[in-house]
Amino acid sequence: MKRLNPYLTGGITPDWIDYLIAFQEAGADAVEIGLPFSDPMLDGATIQQASDQALRRGVTVASILADLTAARDRIRIPLIAMTYANLVFRGAPAHGGGPEAFCRRLADAGVSGLIVPDVPVDEADRLDEAAAAAGIDLVLLAAPVTPADRLAEIGRRSRGFVYAVSVMDTTGERALLAETAAPLARRIKEVTDLPVLIGFGISTPAQAAAAARTGDGVVIGAALMRRVLDGASPDDLRAEVAAFRTALDQVDQEMPVARAHAEISGDRR
């Protein structure tokens, strides 16, 4: 089954947990929870705004994890934290800081995966160990420019899935699925048996379906966060995510012949 991982900026609104529940009800397989950082280097305008909005509300890692802990009984799908290195490495182990404590705090709040876009595989040793010790899957990212030897290492060391960054750009909506998405997903699948989820710029159910014909699923971020920033309700977002779910389920039902045809014609609608 094709996987659907919508992204949600933690604390973006006071009722942000309701969006999470709406994503779950709409058929999300997991939700990526953004822990907002002041300087999100790999995020475009929409997720920057979402992060700023949350930070202006006084949201912290601690408050987000507390909200998740409080909502534990309502959450049935895996949660994956997505944040930047500074929040992960903050502080010394002697003072309750460092990646070891960070990963334990995530695990205590029911989070089972972690994505840190500014920690590439070369810088991941300590975090790798800390995550493993806390039972957290450290998901590594691969990019269209990643050479073969690095890709093999990323495939070997990633846990949970491999995140295929579909495009040489920041997060943000795009009119078309990037041409680099499918070739990257194929290259990753050659080096690992882990699922490959394609993210960055996937903005419509049609694009999600096109991506899922090569990958094992998609991550949807900016397209959803823009709706939330514009004031859309959890119910609105439930419908939005459900449309992505339907599109992915249709890919599952496609006959192999239809799939081959779509790949040949580069179907992106």
């Binding site: 950082f37 280097m41 930070l55 912290t60 876009p117 590439p120 595989v121 070369d122 920041t170």
Partner: protein, 394 residues
Amino acid sequence: MNATAPGAVIGSVMGEPSATGRFGQFGGRYVPESLVPACAALEAAFRDAWADPAFHERLARLRSEFAGRPTALTPALNLSAQLGVTLLLKREDLAHTGSHKINNVLGQALLAQRMGKTHLIAETGAGQHGVATATAAALFGMRATVYMGERDIARQQLNVFRMELLGAEVIPVTSGSRTLKDATNEAMRAWVAAVDEAHFCLGSVGGPHPYPWLVRELQRVIGEEARAQVPATPDVVVACVGGGSNAAGTFAGFVDTPARLIGVEAAGGAAMTDGRPGVVHGYRSLVLQDDDGQVLEAESIAAGLDYPGVGPEHAHLGTTGRAEYRTVTDGEVLDAVRRLARSEGIICALESAHAVAWVLRAAGTPDLPTGSTVLLTLSGRGDKDMATLAGEVR
């Protein structure tokens, strides 16, 4: 001007960083996977160029024929007499474009050309690095895109006009503090999207490996020239610290002497003094941040020092005690600009005035005893700051 000999001892003081780009526990390459190959390619190109005499020859010619190097060493006779110390000014304000930033940019533009790049992307605070980048782009026939915080655009108008006259595109950055921190984020984002044809021409000794090393080596010319110009080893070597490139270049020339090395930060942007270990803009160093790890906005009258981080090698030099760091306030800086102007006939940049302000405060105290000889790098000239100064200096 000798370059570091290829094969210089790794990990020696102000030598080559470790294989992972570390100076002690600081540095590294904390960038998205999309940028890792570009950083690796830059490192390889730099190693290759730095071992190539032809590259050094081209750089040396550009420095002398275009940038006006070597810059003068000026004894500040009047101030020396007033303060009871011997104050020697390394005049980076006399370098073409008006600051030390040209040293770095000429080297990086040559590297970019060697790598077949056609586009320079830069961040700038005071605009001096942006002007230097625009200048090199014009000279090398490249395209230049400069990211600059909206707030800095307003206070450094002259440099915006200069960049545009030179043919660069200046893109206002409206996020966050609308200063250098956010301009750097935006430049790195732009680099991700243009990594094939663009070189990120980073302006100071921060950023992912190899930038802190590369930029320090390109700024080393300040310290090496000064070392050859001073009559004897100074007691104290002082420079202002934003990201820390003019200080790093100056210190590199004196790190193996008994001279004390002093970096002067803006009180409102003092990562060495008030920062805690953190990762931002691709490197681990000392960073102004809150308890939750959110980066704090710096606040300084000098746009070039209005930055919450500092180059990783400074964090290392400070931690090991080889260099010391001090802070001065905006008020002291304004006084220093006026005092240097009236005593020596030199109007320096607000950034550079931080080093002057420390000398004014410390002279005659145990921190800088009477009779000391001080080498001070005057990193830039003050033309860009006239609007700010007109409003502040009575």
